[in-house]
């Protein structure tokens, strides 16, 4: 593997690279207001877990006041990159950018773990392999799963314990969305709009119903859809682990596939994918070829979360049926990538408030991070659980029938936390609830 042949950076090199971002680090005035919103600090109350602490550690590494780069790396890993601190920072420090960059530098120094290397550089770039795994496990899951929470229909998978701990999942799909639909290329209908559909790995392989609901929403609104058959991961897991090499490879693959048709918007039901495409692809655009850079810039303007697309672009209408006797209580969890990165919080609420048969109730701390953060749940399992417990307590405090979200990663976490607690609350994507309202 060529990953192995890449030489690691030395400590003096790392110090020098960090010194190059000193200007950005110096922007932190050490006020500590990040403590108020940091989900990790909220659990541990440790200064090294909050952005102020991490920035000081990076500075100290840069100024050679600290030699333990591995120790700093471990602290950096204890961060969800949720951006809560960034949106609360009086000095406007772009913590997410700083930590992504620092992780990249520290990964170059300490190397990438074996499991991550295999997943990032071998499995993620090959969607066929992933789909095969899904089909295989989907078919045989009944032999190795165990019922976890009857009313929520979740299971635990003992053989996945080394990776996923005792997490509760919904049953795996027997066929991934992309395997079922293959390539899609339909022309614009009455809306006159055509979108590129980027389902995201979780809706494609686990919550297939979200991808199907999205398709239904497009179809019923006369939206043409283009989906190349073998889109790969958006690259966010690689980037947050500091594996820039494989991140770039995934972006390039996706760009090649997306080039094959014209579209007005790129739409995804995954808040993380949208923010990754809009923010991270764009952030590193200068590292790509001129053509690719231009394509990234164009996609930057076109990428949209599906709830924002429904409200802001399609301006969808809702059927009002006046007299439901029993409305189901629904609440909404703000995904960090949606609210804090993309500024989208009104649109999903707008949808939920307008759907007939639902009564919208706001939960306390709706925009506090759920603790999912993609691979964070796997590498920092205990922390993720503690953070998730607080979210779960907020959800059940208002006694809803359904908790809606617009990010599949958050949904996995919500489902796990509620199921572990023996609760009976349905976890649904906003677009699923919308699609349900459209009839057959």
């Amino acid at each position: 593997m060529n990953g192995k042949t890449k030489k690691r950076t030395s400590l003096p090199q790392l110090t020098k690279q960090l010194m190059a971002i000193d200007d950005r680090l110096a922007g932190c005035m050490h006020c500590g207001l990040c403590q108020a919103v940091c989900p990790v600090y909220g659990v541990t109350l440790k200064e090294a877990d909050v952005s102020r602490g991490k920035i000081v550690l990076l500075e100290n590494l840069a100024y050679e006041l600290l030699k333990d780069a591995d120790g700093v790396g471990e602290k950096l890993d204890r961060c969800l990159l949720c951006g809560s601190c960034r949106s609360n920072c009086p000095s406007g420090v772009d913590t997410v950018e700083i930590f992504l960059h620092a992780r990249r530098l520290i990964t170059d120094y300490r190397g990438l773990g074996k499991i991550k290397k295999t997943v990032f550089r071998f499995i993620l770039p090959h969607p066929g392999l992933m789909s095969f795994f899904v089909a295989f496990s989907g078919r045989f899951q009944r032999f190795f799963r165990r019922k976890a929470n009857k009313s929520m229909g979740t299971f635990e998978f003992p053989i996945l314990r080394p990776f996923a701990g005792k997490r509760h999942f919904q049953p795996l799909a027997t066929k991934s969305f992309s395997a079922e639909y293959g390539k899609i290329n339909t022309s614009a209908g009455k809306s006159g709009i055509k979108v590129a559909f980027f389902p995201g790995c979780v809706p494609d392989k686990l919550f297939v119903r979200i991808a199907q609901a999205s398709m239904k929403a497009f179809e019923k609104n006369g939206v043409g859809v283009f989906m190349p058959g073998s889109l790969v991961c958006c690259g966010i897991p690689n980037l947050v682990s500091g594996d820039y090499v494989s991140f770039k490879r995934l972006v390039k693959t996706n760009l090649g596939l997306l080039k094959k048709a014209e579209f007005d918007y790129l739409v995804s039901p995954c808040a993380t994918c949208v923010s990754s495409i809009k923010e991270n692809w764009f952030r590193y655009r200068d590292d790509f070829t001129d053509d690719e850079r231009r394509q990234i810039e164009e996609i930057h303007g076109k990428a949209m979360d599906i709830t924002a697309f429904l409200i802001d672009v399609l301006n969808v209408e809702f059927k009002t049926s006046g007299s439901e006797t029993c409305k189901r209580r629904v609440t909404y969890h703000d995904s960090c990538h949606l609210k804090k990165t993309l500024g989208i919080y009104a649109q999903p609420r707008n949808i939920l408030k307008n759907l007939s048969g639902l009564e919208f109730v706001e939960m306390p701390e709706a925009d506090r991070c759920c603790g999912s953060g993609g691979s964070f749940t796997l590498t920092q399992h205990k922390l993720a659980n503690q953070i998730g417990q607080r979210k779960r307590n907020c959800v059940v405090s208002i006694n809803p029938d359904i908790v809606a979200a617009a990010c599949p990663a958050c949904m996995l976490q919500l489902m796990d936390m509620l199921s572990q607690n023996g609760d009976s609350v349905e976890v649904k994507h906003v677009v699923e609830l919308y699609a349900d309202s459209l009839g057959r």
């Binding site: 000193d22 200007d23 110096a26 922007g27 005035m29 050490h30 006020c31 500590g32 207001l33 403590q35 108020a36 109350l45 440790k46 200064e47 090294a48 602490g53 000081v56 550690l57 100290n60 006041l65 600290l66 030699k67 333990d68 120790g71 700093v72 471990e74 602290k75 009086p90 000095s91 406007g92």
Partner: protein
């Protein structure tokens, strides 16, 4: 630090709550003040009162300097460890609200409770805890008491000291001392809470605090008055108080400040003005509040304000306060380092103090924006700089010294609400006298014979 000693601390609080590794300790070497950091030898995070007492006793017996730390959000270097052998004791896990008593209007809390979390809990029970320091979303009540924190509501509602009814704290032996009570009146023994208030961790460590609560105001009204001359603004402040109206907040922002805020928010602020006042009156009767607001408006006009904007509803009120809320963010974004000062003068001297600050800014060629609590004479001259530029930072330090001098010359004080800490300890004698310092030192040595509690802070 000696491995066996570390093990003894672990035996008290558990292995997980003693931080000995280098990276972890470095995260406790600073606070929000722009001062030289000092990495401690060990950090201990007790979870119970008993653990807290034992931790103090063990550290003291072994001659280790002790710095107690809440959120580390103070601006005076009060929790920067004294020396390399310091043990930092964290109060963050002592964060239980023990009691909110709605009948007798008091609350009992542990020192690590976060100010705004407490204020919200109190508010949800229909009561009010007014002190609201700028860092209230992270600051701890223990820290507020240790530094006698203020906030925006000082003029009418007072500061932390006006809400402290009693406390329990540990002395250097790890013995629990009790003082004050849950009653409105209490003259039992010395007023030790008064002594511990603002003691900045130099006399003992709190384990429990009793705080007074008040009924909340039922109505409020906010307005903004724009001035061409900052003296007119100050005259307005004096006139409002002479008319026996006590606004709950009375804030001033100078031209520099307005310019930065406008550049940051584009909210349409009057950047050509010399200063603006933001005034809020509150009370239990809407009609009385309206009348007060009308009187305040008249006084603003009479004192020379040509542009007065009032808020009709909560939304508009929110927008008026937006400017004040954005003061620090706007200033902080302009340059990497933000030195936030706290010099306070009798309120009639506010124009003289602002003039002095502007003169000092010019003399040292520095950018200084000033905002603050005009009703309290408590100004926050904010120096925008880059601490990495040694030459510039020397000018900042000289300017700060001169700001202190100016405040003292105007019969003011070194610090209205940020604390003395390390930043201003050397100035104490100048504001008081040698005898006061000696008296304070004697008090300190009587209660801390080995001089281990937060050495180098408050009194040198």
């Amino acid at each position: 630090m000696n491995v066996n000693l570390v093990k003894e601390f672990m035996a008290i609080v558990g292995r997980e709550l003693v931080f000995a590794d280098e990276a972890e300790r470095q995260a406790y070497s600073y606070d929000a003040a722009v001062l030289t950091p000092q990495v401690p030898a060990l950090v201990v995070m007790p979870e119970t009162h008993e653990q807290l007492g034992k931790t103090i006793k063990l550290a003291y017996e072994n001659g280790l300097p002790i710095t107690v730390r809440g959120a580390g959000s103070n601006l005076s270097g009060a929790v920067i460890p004294s020396s390399a052998d310091t043990v930092v004791i964290l109060t963050s896990r002592l964060n239980k609200i023990i009691e909110i008593n709605e009948e007798d209007l008091y609350a009992v809390v542990e020192p690590g409770v976060i100010t705004s979390v407490f204020a919200e809990a109190v508010s949800s029970r229909g009561l009010f805890y007014p002190p609201d320091p700028g860092s209230q979303t992270v600051s701890t009540l223990g820290g507020n008491v240790a530094l006698n924190a203020g906030g925006l509501r000082g003029l009418k509602y007072g500061v932390t000291k006006d809400y402290l009814m009693g406390m329990e704290f540990f002395d250097y032996n790890g013995d629990l001392i009790k003082t004050g009570s849950r009653t409105v009146k209490c003259v039992t023994g010395y007023n030790l809470s008064g002594m511990m208030l603002g003691s900045e961790g130099t006399l003992g460590i709190f384990s429990q605090i009793i705080l007074k609560l008040v009924p909340p105001p039922k109505a409020s009204k906010a307005l903004m008055a724009v001035y061409d001359d900052i003296s007119d603004a100050s005259e307005t402040v004096a006139a409002i108080i002479a008319a026996h109206i006590l606004p709950c907040t009375l804030e001033i922002l100078d031209r520099k400040c307005l310019t930065y805020i406008e550049a940051h928010t584009r909210a349409g602020l009057p950047v050509e003005a010399a200063a603006i006042l933001l005034i809020e009156v509150d009370g239990s009767h809407i009609q009385a509040v309206e009348e007060d607001a009308c009187k305040v408006m008249e006084l603003c006009k009479k004192c020379g304000s040509k542009d007065i904007r009032t808020a009709k509803d909560a939304d508009e009120k929110n927008r008026l306060w937006e400017a004040r809320r954005n003061a620090l963010p706007a200033l902080a974004r302009a340059r990497p380092t933000t030195v936030l000062e706290d010099a306070t003068v009798p309120r009639s001297k506010v124009p003289a103090m602002v003039a002095a600050v502007n003169r000092i800014a010019q003399k040292y060629n520095l950018e200084i924006g000033t905002f603050g609590h005009a009703g309290d004479g408590n100004l926050h001259p904010t120096i925008l700089c880059d601490r990495r530029n040694k030459e510039e930072f020397k000018r900042v330090e000289d300017a700060v010294d001169e700001i202190f001098d100016a405040a003292l010359n105007l019969q003011g004080t070194l610090s209205g609400e940020h604390g003395i800490g390390m930043a201003k300890a050397k100035w104490m004698e100048k504001e008081t006298n040698r005898a006061t310092i000696n008296f304070s030192k004697n008090l300190r040595l009587a209660l801390d014979p080995k001089y281990l509690f937060n050495a180098g802070k408050k009194i040198l």
